[in-house]
Amino acid sequence: MTGPDDGRRGGLSRRRLLGALGVGTAGVLAGGAAGGALGRATADDAAGAPAPSPTDAVPFHGAHQAGIVTPAQDRLHFVALDVTTDSRDELVQLLRDWTAAARRMTAGQDAGEVGAVAGERYAPPDDTGEAIGLPPSGLTITVGFGPTLFTTADGVDRFGLAARRPAPLVELPAFPGDQLDPAISGGDLCLQACANDPQVAVHAVRNLVRIGAGVVSVRWSQLGFGRTSSTSTGQDTPRNLFGFKDGTANLKAENGSALDRFVWVGDDVEGTAAEWLRGGSYLVTRRIRMLVEPWDSSSLDEQQRTIGRTKGSGAPLGQRAEFDPVDFTTQVDGEFAVPETSHVFLAHPTNSGTAILRRGYSFVDGSDGLGRLDAGLFFIAFQRDPATGFVQVQRNLRLDAMNEYVRHTSSAVFACPPGVRDADDWWGRALFG
């Protein structure tokens, strides 16, 4: 348990930290720019579109895949899969079949053309049926390609894709304190299904997995029950399982220039290997177990100093309201209001030098063998390059006071291709075509 003066426990003074970022490197330029871009994003509140009805459909076609900057829904079913076939044709056919089923399900229709109950008596139905009568519920299905799809861990180029692997698509480096379980990490492919009704999200994943029998095998999956980020200024900031508002300073859909800068892979992408990914993004997932029992028995002051915000309004320490700008120079009683080991201090774009779009979900997977809640944050972030996105942020969190209360148990990275443009287009066409 940390004491009230642990703000300096890491031995890294504010002056040194800020100095490190101020040595005239590209980092500081990026840092300053990131802070500026975010300032504009949060200053644009009035321009936020009204949130769509939670039961409406989210358009499936577009320049970008839905489920990234579209408003974060309340529920998640995420699944990572390994490809079990060696046939490129079978894999391509699956991606086409998946696209067709996703196009239908996001519109609130059955997964297959026949439907759950209209088919032949002796044939398995082409939809599993649990979403009959439910509205589209904002369902988005987002696909991603992992590094091992391009080259297996043994270096095998199964599908002739090795030359098309974008350089940034590599396994994440190890971070201090990682307790990763390989069985729930990585994957050749991923599907992120988000909806405002959990049954709709589960239905989507279940049917896509069913369609993939013989071609893919589920490696691991994760349910999430509450969004922990807002991705639109029209959304309220939700609370995570620490009880704090999370994602106040997140990138928001309304700030197009910040998204182009930090989220989308742009036309200026280097090398021909990654051309297929233009308009796409990199997805990083981390299953972050929260040690809720020690957290719950720590004082309010300790909790607030760990996060760097007040628990009530979500205001940065030393400020009054949630969206007040974070000011790291504000002092209270001769001490800096925001401790330099607090999560906000270390993760903020001003100090991390970059920005990522967070889209994570709370999870509770029952209890562990000791009766402790197996709960936490299924962290999801989108960025235009993991190295200058999540990796850069996470490296800066080495001294984060929050580390005492969290354990990263799974990790994965995927390249999400651009959006499906029309009825003839399919997930991965630019990669496989």
């Binding site: 398995p124 029998a213 095998s217």
Partner: protein, 385 residues
């Protein structure tokens, strides 16, 4: 078996009535198979089987019913098969002990076949081509399907003979107090049971008596059958107190054999049975639930897979006309599953379930899931005639 999984439609009352009379006259009691009641073989084709040869006296035969007389001069128990395309079993004779001669009566329309001996009862066997000349009959869809039922019935009859023999040997060992002998025979006897379980499950009350697991019984019912004795052998290391259960098991198996020999499954039941056997693998064998004391689950896995393939192959002539793409996919996936399983073959058996890693079980599970997806589409093709 699973008391929770009853996919097969119950036999119609008419069929049940038919079998009570047909059961007595069913062939196969001699361990061979009958092509069809009342048919006469045109000739007898000697087959000389040894540990490394399988000499069939004729490589070319006229279309019609033939009798193969298989003499085993080798040192291992052998089996003899006549296969059509895709290893569809036209006829087989099981469990030919060294020194014995057994007869296989089989009707062969014009076409190309393969004969195979399987010394040690494992692997693809020692194969040779067999050409049957004559005019190929053109069958209607209904005739083709009727033949599928008859073909599968022959398969069942070939298995029931061996089931009875091996169960007798197993229960004899139990009653003689031969723990090691009984342990060795347990998975062998079960192989013949697991191959034809879709038929056995039709007789609802016998299946739980023979193959129920501990805890499946209703209150007041005794825990009987293979698994009761399995528990005594592996957990207790004894046959003590098992003689009455051995007697009961043999009597129940005898009853199911008599009933099964006279049962003809409808083509749709074949299709559903093939799928149900794969479900058995997925829910009982991959999980290690079936043989929780002996861990001989892969024996049952192999047997379920063979039984499923036999049911699908019986439907093959129809499916090849109705949906050739599905047949190609099913062939590919049966082969993939067999290859996955083959990795765990040991000298004279299979790797115990509790020695398989999670990754190995996942490989088996993935291949069965894929195969099951393909086989699940057979029933609709059959129903669509």
């Amino acid at each position: 078996m699973s008391v929770r999984d009853r996919r097969l439609p119950l036999l119609t009352a008419a069929l049940l009535a038919a079998l009570t009379t047909a059961a007595c006259g069913g062939g196969g009691g001699d361990g061979g198979t009958a092509a069809a009641a009342g048919e006469q073989a045109a000739d007898t084709v000697p087959v000389a089987a040894t540990d490394d040869a399988c000499d069939v006296a004729s490589a070319e035969l006229p279309a019609g019913t033939h009798s193969f007389a298989v003499t085993n001069s080798g040192s291992q128990v052998t089996e003899f098969y006549v296969y059509a395309d895709g290893d569809r079993v036209m006829g087989e004779v099981e469990n030919i002990a060294p020194g014995l001669t057994r007869e296989l009566l089989v009707e062969l329309p014009a076409g190309s076949y393969e004969t195979a001996c399987k010394p040690g009862m494992v692997g693809d066997g020692i194969r040779a081509g067999l050409t049957v000349t004559g005019e190929a009959a053109t069958l209607s869809e209904d005739e083709t399907l009727a033949r599928a039922s008859a073909d599968y019935q022959r398969y069942v009859q070939s298995q029931t003979g061996a089931l009875l023999e091996q169960t007798t040997a197993f229960t004899d060992a139990v009653e003689a107090g031969d723990v090691e002998g009984a342990k060795a025979l347990y998975p062998v006897a079960r192989t013949y049971w697991e191959r034809i379980e879709p038929v056995a499950e039709v007789f609802g009350d016998l299946d739980p008596l023979i193959d129920g697991r501990e805890g499946d019984q209703a209150e007041g019912e005794d825990f009987t059958g293979f698994h009761r004795i399995e528990q005594a052998l592996w957990v207790g290391g004894t046959t003590e107190g098992m003689a009455p259960y051995a007697d009961r098991l043999l009597a129940d198996v005898q009853e199911v054999v008599d009933l099964a020999d006279g049962t003809t499954l409808e083509p749709l039941q074949l299709a559903n049975g093939a799928k149900a056997l794969l479900d058995e693998i997925a829910t009982g064998k991959i999980t290690g639930e079936e043989d929780r004391y002996s861990h001989t689950d892969l024996w049952d896995f192999a047997a379920n897979l063979e039984g499923s393939e036999a049911a699908v192959q019986a439907l093959r002539p129809y499916l090849e006309e109705a949906d050739p793409e599905l047949v190609a996919e099913i062939d590919e996936r049966f082969a993939a599953t067999e290859a996955e399983l083959e990795q765990y073959r040991t000298d004279g058996g299979w790797t115990p379930h509790d020695q398989l890693t999670e990754d190995q079980l996942r490989g088996l599970s993935d291949s069965v899931t894929a195969l099951s997806e393909s086989v699940s589409r057979v029933a609709a093709v059959v129903a669509d005639r």
